[in-house]
Symmetry: C2
Subunit: 240 residues, 2 copies
């Protein structure tokens, strides 16, 4: 099947397969920027719309990612977030040797609603500390997380987090040196407008949501976390 008009298959599909071949063969490295739509159009002697149709299909196939005003990029492989009883955010990085960063977005004192009280096994209305966190890998926002800590055991945890940048270290600083993931629920949703903005992703790209309860060595809950992962970047893996 040679390239051109009237060859039986539509132009946009031929263009799609040509670009796909360049990516799969490694001629274009993951993360690298592809030529502009306009220059593709010149190269193949077609309209920009035709190139756009090809690219739209490559997005669907998850081979490229498009950013308005910036360009079209070959997709980096997705990051695996291994869901074991002791995974920390930094573990994502270890597997890919890239730099993770946790960013404190907001925090405050609240009273436990039904859901939080159930998860932390504290009375309804008990004081809890809320911490909003974002995570980046290689400059990409990959998750935003809301964590609740029982106030009686975690006094001052926010300032410890600000110093160390790590939930694990902050918990250790308030005397909880060992904690484990007990249960996790995984759901898929569309992001709230706020989450979409914080994750810098479009409103209609789904998020992977985990609700997890972390317990200390005695088995009593010390953290209830709701994490929204950018589904374009993160897959959760479970070994059983």
């Amino acid at each position: 099947m040679e390239f051109g008009r009237n060859t039986g298959s539509p132009l946009w599909r031929q263009i799609r397969d040509d670009i796909a071949g360049q990516i799969r063969s490694g001629q274009v490295a993951p993360g690298e920027r592809l030529p502009t739509e306009f220059s593709f159009a010149e190269q193949y002697s077609v309209n920009r719309h035709t190139v756009r149709q090809a690219i739209a299909d490559l997005v669907e196939m998850n081979l490229v990612r498009v950013e308005q005003g910036r360009g079209t990029f070959a997709r980096e492989p997705m990051l695996d977030y291994p869901l074991s009883d002791s995974t920390r955010f930094s573990d994502i990085a270890l597997a890919k040797n890239c730099c993770p960063a946790g960013i404190l977005l907001d925090h405050g004192d609240e009273q436990a609603d039904r859901r939080i009280a159930d998860a932390l096994t504290v009375p309804l209305g008990a004081p809890v500390i809320r911490v909003e966190l974002a995570g980046e890998v290689d400059g990409h926002r990959v998750f935003v997380s809301t964590a609740y800590f029982p106030q009686d055991r975690c006094q001052g945890i926010v300032s410890h987090f600000q110093q160390s940048g790590s939930v694990t270290k902050a918990l250790a600083a308030v005397g909880i040196v060992e904690y484990k993931r007990k249960t996790t629920r995984v759901q898929a949703r569309l992001p709230t407008p706020t989450d979409a903005r914080v994750l810098k992703q479009e409103r209609y790209r789904p998020v992977l949501v985990t609700e997890s309860i972390n317990v200390d060595a005695e088995g009593s809950p010390v953290e209830f976390g709701i994490t929204r992962f950018a589904s374009d970047w993160i897959a959760i893996t479970v070994e059983t």
Copy 2:
């Protein structure tokens, strides 16, 4: 805070909270149809658009589900799919005592592509059996699944499935009496048009995707399955 105009909070939010209260208190049972938008509008003496804004927020809060042309329904609680090494589809049902059904949609012989070959540890191009399956609970489509079996070990598995309606029994019939889930990857995506149709869900509602490898007692792969769950109905739970 009493109901009415000029009370400080917008009408649609008051209406939203009123309806939310009726659902949470159980005055409206899960799955039950709510009054029409028009009758809500009459009841609260507001425009239908005001009611629609309240309902849109209730959808966002996951308290109701809207079906075009049918009405607005109080959300049934989501089904938990526990992800252990030996969960079968029928386990969803046991927890909720409702009736599950597996439906064979399609099947065929294929040659393993890169991904399937890697998962099943067979050579590239080796013959595999593809089985497309849908799952229903209480008359709702909750998942659609594509499973690949190595042909040499699973000859005739399709007809066994047709007789028993169970993957477990079909595998047993070809001599694989024990198998375990080894690894699972969980992702969130938007459904393909086909999946959206089969799941009877809108194009922009996400699906939870699991890719799992099942191995026999000796640890060699006997099934590679890609399951797309309707994210409105199913959450995955992991105990660690």
